[in-house]
Point group: C2
Chain length 408, copies 2
């Protein structure tokens, strides 16, 4: 028994039938004596429909203030519908928009940061046995204007609300049964993790495992909110994300993420002098193009090669941009490849175990997969390979770290 | 030059193309030096879509609080889209939800009454050259909960806003070019009225001319807000609704309304004793069935007949209800007819002109149309006839009062 904040994503509230099922699910928790506060997204497809209309009228850069007003209407619909479905079942429920619970953010429309939530009203409702149904994704700034939190916003809303209410757990109820050791569509033996640390989840989330937005994981880690990723419609305990993985013998590697959304750009024959990196990356950052991995080899004969990755949609713009830059700095040429994949091995256990990298390189070599770039952090090793090998690499690495085996 | 509040209904903002046209229309007013505040409805069809989902989840009587939250999202979409379209044209515009301008109502969800509007924010915006785009139909109660104003709510919002801002005119921009002497689909010679009084408009609105909701007309009359009904997309001056019709030689009859949405019920052989009307109508009102015309003839031999009209959808329920009542009060029988029409002749000029009623009865007699019921007020004569004669009657009466002729 405890207070649980449950977040239901767009597919979980994608139709009236599903909303009725969500109401049933909440009823089950109440029957067990829990208190529940729900945070909901817009019905799936709705945000896209609204954005399309806004862009049609507002062009490429419509007013962010008005886009926030527009998009926030999506969550308004779902809080009303879910409250209605709960009331129909005889459950006291009440919808709340951001401004009604002073879900305060800064004024950065479209990517607002949460500043403060007034929990007094919600505490009173919970104490009276009411299920508050709160609009995710939206906030209100100090002038009473609607803001939105940007991508993954509803996850962040739920975690922030759980932190503010000091909830016992924040459930992210979604269309997958938890966090997996890797993508089950690629590896048949992919296994749902019972538990994972915030750090590991953050790496996995950032690296292309789309279960949870990195920002919400960061938030959960900072405020130490236990988060459970689980299915809305299938039974099962999901995956618990906590500060320490205390539940089992610590695995060395927790999961393998992959991404085929990146492109690689190499500036070759660059004079190996101080400040050259910023001369290359400065103009790129100036165009708001996000750079991910960066590798610079030790120079030979005063020349070096400089390689980095960007999102695939930024590939051509970056190449064009660097043509001029290359001339300026006297580089030999600029080449690129947008058929690459990034594969990352994540696990807090790596910290204390040498040899993880070696195991990765050996196995990929034995599969005849050439490694183009390597980047490492304390709990992660990422390699860039040709896109056509991505499934093979993920399967091989899942196998070499025996991720399909249940922990003892 | 002046301050104009413009209300755009659901069909006027029914698509992104139309919203762009509305923005263009507003731009035209600004170019002429006017100040404009816009009040918008939800995109046509949207409210029905939302209500259908709410009823699916909430049954026949879903929570009114939550239905208001649900429906109010429709106007939120349009204020954002219209503001976006205006901004795209380089016009300063800003959307406002009810709570952002303290558009305060009582707490009667679904049929709230306006109590007060805080105009300070809007005055400041207008003074700064901003076009405020305000969500119609919605309000906020003293607890910060969303309310809605019920049918015709956006018209009422616009008139109330015009009153609060002391606007020079309130334009109701819709899909017709104004108020007509009668339904142009029935009478080819039907003519747009240049001007009409609040009283006349109220009668016409109540009697089935669907241009403007009676409540908004009442409101406009009370606060003396000049209202102009006009087309959003066609040029033309529309119809001005004012306190006094000072613009032209006062016509005796301004317009003819008709309705085929009523049914007639007669309780015959009723003992003609005091209190019998309330014994019949009490139970009807108790079931929230609205009674329109009521006629009771002078009794003969201590017995009388009692006839009244109800909305057609209430016909069967009322008949069933009265079966028991008839037994209780010793009435002979209850009969009904749901194939009737009501035709009404409206004009403030009637007050000072005798003979209008005679003209009506004579002409209908000469067309062989039997009058089943008659009801009169100071500025109106309504007759009930068989539904099949409705077009014939409207045409004949339009002709007899020469309504197709332009006023001098």
């Amino acid at each position: 028994m405890g207070l649980i904040v449950q977040k239901y994503g767009g597919t979980s509230v994608g139709s009236t039938e599903r909303i009725a099922q969500v109401a049933e699910r909440i009823a089950g928790y109440l029957a067990k004596g829990h208190q529940v506060a729900a945070v909901v997204s817009a019905m799936s497809g709705e945000t896209n429909r609204l954005v399309a209309m806004g862009q049609e009228l507002g062009g490429e850069y419509p007013s962010r203030r008005e886009m926030d007003v527009l998009m926030a209407s999506g969550e308004q619909v779902t809080i009303a519908l879910l409250s209605t479905a709960l009331l129909r079942r005889g459950i006291s429920a009440k919808s709340f928009l951001a401004d009604q619970i002073a879900f305060r953010t800064d004024a950065a429309h479209g990517r607002a940061r949460i500043e403060h939530i007034d929990t007094q009203k919600l505490q009173t409702e919970l104490a009276n046995g009411v299920v508050p149904v709160v609009a995710g994704f939206q906030g209100v700034n100090e002038h009473g204007e609607i803001t939105t939190l940007g991508r993954g916003g509803s996850d962040t809303s739920a975690v922030a609300l759980a932190a503010a209410l000091e909830a016992d757990e924040c459930e992210i109820c979604t269309d997958v049964e938890g966090v997996y050791t890797t993508d089950p569509r690629i590896v048949e033996g992919a296994r749902r993790l019972q538990q994972i640390t915030f750090e590991e989840m953050l790496e996995l989330a950032s690296l292309g495992s789309k279960v949870l937005h990195p920002r919400s994981v960061e938030f959960a880690g900072r405020y130490r909110v236990p988060v459970r990723v689980m299915s809305t419609f299938a039974e099962g305990p999901g995956t618990l994300i906590t500060l320490e993985n205390d539940n089992m013998e610590q695995a060395i590697v927790s999961g393998i993420a992959h991404s085929t959304e990146d492109a690689k750009i190499t500036v070759s024959g660059v004079p190996d002098i101080p400040g050259i990196a910023s001369k290359i990356l400065g103009p790129v950052g100036g165009k708001n193009i996000e750079v991910d991995m960066i590798v610079q080899n030790t120079g030979v004969d005063g020349m070096t090669d400089f390689t980095f990755t960007v999102k695939r949609q930024d590939f051509q713009p970056t190449l064009s941009l660097l043509d001029d830059v290359a001339k300026d700095i006297g580089a030999r040429e600029v080449t690129g490849d947008n058929t690459i994949a990034k594969v990352s091995i994540v696990g807090v256990g790596m910290r204390s175990h040498a040899g993880v990298a070696t195991k990765v390189f050996d196995r990929l070599a034995s599969e005849n997969i050439n490694i183009q770039m390597i980047s490492t952090s304390e709990i992660k090793i990422s390699v860039v390979i040709a896109e056509r090998y991505v499934e093979l690499a993920v399967r091989a690495l899942h196998d070499v770290f025996e991720l399909d085996a249940q922990p003892d």
